[in-house]
Amino acid sequence: MSQCAATIVPCYPLFQQPEYRELLKAKSAEFEARVPQEKIDETFQWTTSEAYRKLNFQREALTINPAKACQPLGAVLCALGFRGTLPYVHGSQGCTAYFRTYFNRHFKEPVACVSDSMTEDSAVFGGQKNLFAGLQNAKALYEPEMIAVSSTCMAEVIGDDLNAFITNAKKEGRIPVDFPTPYAHTPSFIGSHLTGWDNMLEGILRYFTLNSMADKTAGSSGRINLVAGFDGYLGNFRLLKRMMREMGVEATLLSDPEAVLDTPADGRYRMYAGGTPPEEVQQAPNAIDTLFLQPWGIEKSRKFVKETWNHAATQVDAPYGLAATDRLLMTVSQLTGRPVPASLELERGRLVDMMADSHAWLHGRRFSVYGDPDFVMGMARFLMELGAEPLHLLCHNATKRWGKAMEQMLAASPFGKGAEVHFGRDLWHLRSLLFEKKPDFLIGNSYGKFIQRDTLHKGKEHEVPLIRIGFPIFDRHHLHRHSTLGYEGAMYLLTTLVNAVLERLDDETRSMGETDYNYDLIR
């Protein structure tokens, strides 16, 4: 009996109490047939060795702790960024439950998304019946302005034809013929969540513009289209809009989920909020250009925009850090003829001021980074701008071409000399790499916490603390509301990094009578 009404304790520290410690010890000693502790310790040490790293890197078939997700997840996020849109996933229902949960946990927000619940018989006969009823039910119950259809791997393996099924559903009168139903095939066994995001966007652009290009002229609206891509930071969407506003540039964000994923608590649940209006999508071909801010994550939409809209889709880098943001603003300026305004120059100056203030704590520090390709590249670039040194740069869902581009980028900076680039590798690979060469910090999503624990288990001196930047972040609250792009985002990143360094220093120096030095009030 470990509880007392005045101080009720949950799992930790409840299970620290002696009676539970004994219980756990006895359970494992008597019933678990547990391997002897020496064997466990020995095996653990082996998993941190050079020999193990080699064995680990010989893996050809097994993925352990991936750092990527599947296509329809991306499709759902993309669809959420359009006004009044209900994401609809054609296929078995379990995936949709997972997508919603995954986003709920990251954004701490409701996520509306339906499935058409295909079962064994649909595997035999195809899912057309499910799609008919699904579209009809979803429209009747949730009254969306648009339903954006993607597919699970079940529907893809049996070869369901979304276009034909949706057309038939309309013919059958399940939903009105003019009701917007863009779609994208999103087979989960190709690419990653980024591919699905890209496919869904392309589906939406195609739906609204392909057959109405006759009266469109690139440049006629004087606007700019921006495509942020799969991004777990709501602040980034807001930041992009603000920067464009300050430049006096009218911009359309193609997919903008910041409102629907950040609705207020005021007594009312809003299933739909904000988002890119379909009318703006229709007019998007009239813009001067479309800029893709995750060039390594988006291909198909870019191709569509170039071929169908006749846009240059001018190459830009993901605007992480100073120089990439400078370049983005200059590109927009060149395209629109609008100068970069004083307000943004001031913001830039403040960022540089912060960089100067903090450089002594960041210069020469070594960071390993994992995540999506443009994030890793952007983060590496920013680290080098800070005088920090990227060590391992790992991307599970990137290609060889990305690897080459990374090598080139790193070679161009003295701070990139010691970096290693890994693509198509998972977090168990990364674990081995961190035991081989220890960085000061690891930058990545919440999954990295298990690597931190493993490195700590080898000894405090091997511990690689995790700095949570990326997607998903499940175990810290509200970080997703910040921005990571632009000058503003760079300020957030810089603040996060430098304070992680200082926290760690405190952590290592607060042992009284032992490491009193460097435990400073002033830094």
Binding site: C70, P72, C95, A97, A140, F189, G267
Partner: protein
């Protein structure tokens, strides 16, 4: 609270929003129970296909097998076999606590997957599977066995994972278990539980009739407790204290060895009936082991369960049970005394899975609260039959409720608390309704046992009585 007629009218209103076919189907899943009748299944239809497009809360068979039954077995490796998604979304998401050296002799929070690529779908994944089993065994030599959790594509491309498992199992001398829990099978998680139970029967229990262990007179196993937030530990401690020897936990903090020795226990204690009744029945039929359901939520049910369990044993255990109850009574009284005045009369709506839609009712009642609506994501008729006994007032019952239904029901009933899952949580919080996740204990727990009751009471109080719910309207409105 709504009376029966009002509740009936509410159901009709909600159904009116559906197209006719869907309305006719959903009507069979919604009802009002006036009071405990003690029999019948509330006249409800359950365990049927979800309506397409209505936003069911349900998951799939893979979730039921990998996520619920198999995943917590800590010293085995569970492969999410197929594309990368399913394993990633379900990784470490249920807080099935265990102790062990993760990545060395325990694997619970890791994600092993075959990460199917297009070529695997086109040419089949068996070769890849064979290879990855070897790789897993080489990199994690202390694993006690491997389960292969099939995702959707596997069942559609004609792979023979059984053959691969058989060959590799023989080579490794460990159980390698093929589980056909593809997400399109069945109508919810539920079939996944069943499939997982069957594979434990076929590939673990039948694999070796282990007689190595001395069977004691007081040996019992805990079945259907996934140790969420440490539930099984808070239960085990009571059973041990009354004199029983808990030789196995299925499957929270469970191990292969524990499963293997379960056929020698005297009694199987079943918490989540839904997910493990199959294996309980099997052990009864094959080994003559009786099983009984119990309920460790809230002191009333705990005491009742302890006595019912003890009644299966001799006076020593019966005295032990009384001693356990007596020893905890002061703590229970203190908790109830502290929290009941703060919670008295509060109305709760539940929508969960497994056993909780009925099992937690008693705990709420111990705190003076009333459950006015409840339903199962993936219950069967026998779950609803069992629920009747636990209902003590007019209750709205919803099976496989859609997002729309839940929203409308809650909007109208305006309960003081909703207990459901993460997908529902934020909808109701924004509506200003206090909410607790009742799958994951909202990152708290344990809720089982006497220690768990204290935490349960604390949590319900902190959520219902937090000031935030009164801040939703600005003062100038």
């Amino acid at each position: 609270m709504l009376n029966k007629e009002e509740a009936q009218r509410l159901i009709e209103e909600v159904l009116a929003a559906y197209p006719p076919d869907a309305a006719a189907d959903r009507a069979k899943h919604l009802t009002v129970v006036e009071e405990a009748t003690g029999e019948g299944s509330c006249g409800i239809t359950a365990n049927r296909k979800s309506q397409p497009g209505v936003m069911t809360i349900r998951g799939c068979a893979y979730a039921g097998s990998k996520g619920v039954v198999w995943g917590p077995v800590k010293d085995m490796i569970h492969i999410s076999h197929g594309p990368v998604g399913c394993g990633q979304y379900s990784r470490a998401g249920r807080r099935n606590y265990y102790v062990g050296h993760t990545g060395v002799n325990a694997f619970g929070t890791m994600n092993f997957t075959s990460d199917f690529q297009e070529k695997d779908v086109v040419f089949g994944g068996d070769k890849k599977l064979a290879k990855l089993l070897d790789e897993a065994n080489a990199l994690f030599p202390l694993n006690k066995g491997i389960s292969i959790q099939s995702e959707c594509p596997v069942g559609l491309i004609g792979d023979d994972i059984e053959a691969v498992a058989k060959q590799k199992g023989a080579e490794m001398g460990k159980p390698v278990v093929p589980v056909r829990c593809e997400g399109f099978r069945g109508v919810s998680q539920s079939l996944g539980h069943h499939i997982a139970n069957d594979t434990i029967r076929d590939f673990i229990l039948d694999r070796q009739e282990s007689t190595a262990n001395e069977a004691g007179p007081y040996d019992v196993a805990i079945l259907g407790d996934y140790n969420i937030g440490g539930d099984a530990w808070a239960s085990r401690i009571l059973l041990e204290e009354m004199g029983l020897r808990v030789v196995a936990q299925w499957s929270g903090d469970g191990t292969l060895a524990e499963m293997e020795r379960t056929p020698q226990v005297r009694l199987n204690l079943l918490h989540c009936y839904r997910s493990m009744n199959y294996i309980s029945r099997h052990m009864e039929a094959k080994y003559g082991i009786p099983w009984m359901e119990y309920n460790f939520f809230g002191p009333t049910r705990i005491a009742d369960s302890l006595r019912r369990i003890a009644a299966r044993f001799d006076s020593r255990i019966q005295e032990g049970a009384e001693a356990v109850i007596a020893r905890h009574q002061p703590m229970v009284d203190a908790i109830t005394h502290h929290f009941r005045p703060r919670l008295e009369g509060k109305r709760v709506m539940l929508y969960v899975g497994g056993l909780r839609p009925r099992h937690v009712i008693g705990a709420y009642e111990d705190l003076g609260m009333q459950v006015v609506g409840t339903g199962y994501e993936f219950g069967h008729n026998d779950d609803y039959e069992r629920t009747n006994e636990d209902l003590s007032n007019t209750t709205l019952i919803y099976d496989d409720a859609s997002g729309y239904e839940l929203e409308k029901f809650v909007e109208r009933v305006r309960p003081d608390l909703v207990g459901s899952g993460i997908k529902e949580k934020y909808v109701f919080q924004k509506m200003g309704i206090p909410f607790r996740q009742m799958h994951s204990w909202d990152y708290s727990g344990p809720y089982h046992g006497y220690d768990g009751y204290a935490i349960f009471a604390r949590d319900m109080d902190m959520t219902i009585n937090n000031p935030c719910w009164k801040m939703m309207t600005p003062p100038w409105r």
